[in-house]
Amino acid sequence: MVLNTLDRVAVVASAQTQLRGAWDRLQHVDLISRAVDGVLRGSGLRMRDIDVVINSGSDVLDGRSISNCGFLGAMGANHKEESRVEEDGLFSAVYGTTKVACGSASVALIIAYSKPSESDVSGYYATLTDPFYQRALGLDHLGAAGLMANQYLTSTDADEEALLRIAAESWRKAGDNPLVETGDVPSRADIEASDLVADPLRALQISRPVDGAVAVLIATERVARRVTDRPVWITGMGAAMDSHFIADRAPGELEACQAAARMATKRAGLTDVSGVGLAEVTAGSSAGEAMVVEALGLAKRGHGVDCYADDASVSVNPSGGALPADPIMATGLVRLAEAAERLAGRRGDADVGTRALVHGSGGLGMQNHCVFTLEV
């Protein structure tokens, strides 16, 4: 891969709406406006300082072709360079970062949003399987997550107790995150007692689709130094897509996530991830989350749950992660925002070190992966 040095590029600000089961009194455009207003507030930057707007959302979830066209005003994109990356929002951040890194923009506004409460999430996932051989079977994200969880349990030493613990920890942390609406936080017992949706996974072990929007500003070092005293540097990026057919993928592990992480860490000049104190990762289920932290090199294969121990050297998903709140297409960009805010010390005093890994994913059974390395 290419290793020429990026000009220094930083995440300088972020804003989110609360992530909720349903924002039933706000439209997509309202959610986007709130995130965009929020990210500019206090930055000293105005809309006219934004050079490019890159956004993620889904025509299928929105029920609308070229749906970005309906939101260009709210995104501040009028008469600006704008593009829609129809994939998880972290991939939009890749685009924005390359644009800033090469000097063709000084400030990039990255936006991602989701309103699955108005859509059919199973239909969204089922329609991205092969139309001839799989769709008629109704394979959706739930079935895919169950199949992959079984592969994980049978090919490693991990057990169902580990999967329950990961889900319980995720919900507990989300309960402390004011940006996630959780209601009464379910306990481990509640999770174990929830409906068996896709064996071995119970309802509360599968990511919960939520409504929300997130905006992130990415800028050159020169702008970053003026906007914030804590720029969060983007030191590496990687991405990789796995096979479409789940049966063609390696059982119980995520090779594409490993490849994406290798590309990012190599770029960042990291020989291992021992210096990483914080990871914000995306997953479709508790088993998926274990597989992601293992693919990122934060735990040995089958031991992802170790990252959730009280004495773990890395803090995984202090935000709660994607299990309690998955704004489909925006989830990875929320992870970037959460990690950057914490590294910059704007989310309380918890010591998360100076380096973070951020992970986003898209597709059925997490077919596509993207990894960022951040540093302060």
Partner: protein, 384 residues
């Protein structure tokens, strides 16, 4: 900024219905041709950018997830950029930034649509606000007809002038082996063809096609093995976010802004004289007239005179759409990238029967949405 070049391009044989291939088989055909043209294999490709029209066009959600295996891109970065009809150029721009920003050295851009498998105008109608617009089922034609009508009065873009665009592009498509429609028409044929949404008539409208295009972009180092790189001298893609009532569709502002930016990047002060060949994406004949003005090939209001003078014919001084443009083939998600591929092949001397002799600088335009997304690029056989 790192220099970036097109080092290979390929397209499919376009047709109304390609029954012999699946959607991904269609895309693979273009990829195979582009890699052969570049004398490279998938092993040489660092990253893939996929472009298609809105997913409702071909009724598969996130089609790139299906494509990855068909083109052998497993475990490489693969992402889809979508931007309506201009998506092929929006994707190429993302790829250019991947190279310039150091994310990749060689990027494969794949753009395709298999419009025979979806409901095109239904899909376009869903563009409009679901509460106030969708029930009108306006598609894109009524909107375009209204603005052409306005440009008739203000700019003199007559039905006859637009008919000349159809005549020229149909004639040029006869020289293009990939074209889907290869049939000459006369000005009278166009004027007498069935009105669909006046002033738009049947022969003002391009066909609906199945087709794909692929382009390999490379950094200067990675282009060293290429005998004839087509250097990207400028590329931009702009949006207009305002509602229709506040927009000037007499001259497209996003097109003017994009052209200004690209000419600045490429050092072009007089596009009519400095460019040797032009490819534009004309969803209806009237748009090609509008682009002449937006691109500065003539003054505002000069388009009818420009087409009538023969200057934009294949043997004119500023040939536009020697490939036949969308009139020859219109696989919407691929058309913008086809325009880029065509000007790249022109400056590489690989355009075949519709080669413009000694072409050194090529200009292209593409766009999408409700005519609110507009992009421009300039390529040349020198780095500048």
């Amino acid at each position: 900024m790192r220099n970036v070049a097109v080092v290979g391009a390929g397209q499919t044989n376009h047709a109304r219905r390609r029954k012999d291939v699946t959607q991904v088989g269609l895309a693979r055909e273009a990829v195979t041709r582009a890699l052969e043209d570049a004398d490279l294999t998938m092993d040489d490709i660092d990253s893939v950018v996929v472009c298609t029209g809105p997913v409702l066009f071909a009724a598969v959600n996130q089609p790139e997830k299906w494509l990855v295996d068909a083109i052998g891109a497993r475990l490489k970065p693969v992402v889809r950029v979508t931007s309506g009809g201009g998506t092929g150029l929006a994707g190429a721009l993302a790829a250019v930034n991947q190279v310039r920003g150091g994310f990749a050295d060689r990027v494969l851009v794949v753009a395709y649509d298999k419009l025979s498998e979806g409901a095109l105008q239904y899909s376009i109608s869903t563009l409009y606000d679901p509460f106030w617009g969708r029930e009108f089922a306006v598609g894109i034609m009524g909107f375009s007809a209204a603005y052409w009508r306005a440009r008739m009065d203000t700019l003199g873009h007559t039905e006859e002038a637009a008919a000349m665009v159809a005549v020229k592009n149909h004639k040029n498509a006869m020289l293009n082996p990939y074209a889907h429609v290869r049939k000459e028409v006369t000005v009278e044929d166009v004027l007498n063809s069935r009105p669909l949404c006046w002033p738009i008539k049947l022969l003002d409208v391009p066909p609906i096609s199945d087709g794909a295009c692929a382009v390999v972009l490379a950094s200067e180092d990675a282009a060293k093995g290429s005998p004839d790189p087509a250097w990207i001298r400028g590329m931009a893609y702009y949006s207009e976010g305002e509602n229709v009532a506040h927009r000037s569709m007499i001259q497209s502002e996003p097109l003017t802004i994009a052209a200004k930016s690209v000419y600045q990047q490429a050092g072009i002060t007089n596009p009519r004289r400095q460019c040797d060949v032009v490819e534009v994406q004309e969803p209806y004949t009237c748009f090609e007239l509008s682009y002449y003005e937006g691109l500065g090939l003539c003054e505002p209001g000069g388009a009818a005179e420009l087409i009538a003078s023969g200057a934009t014919a294949i043997d004119g001084d500023i040939p536009v759409n020697p490939s036949g443009g969308c009139m020859g083939a219109n696989p919407i998600g691929a058309t913008a990238l086809i325009r880029l591929a065509e000007i790249a092949q022109q400056v590489r001397g690989r355009a075949g029967d519709h080669q413009i002799p000694d072409a050194k600088v090529g200009l292209m335009q593409a766009g999408g949405g409700w005519a609110n997304l507009r992009g421009v690029a300039v390529v040349s056989n020198t780095k500048g």
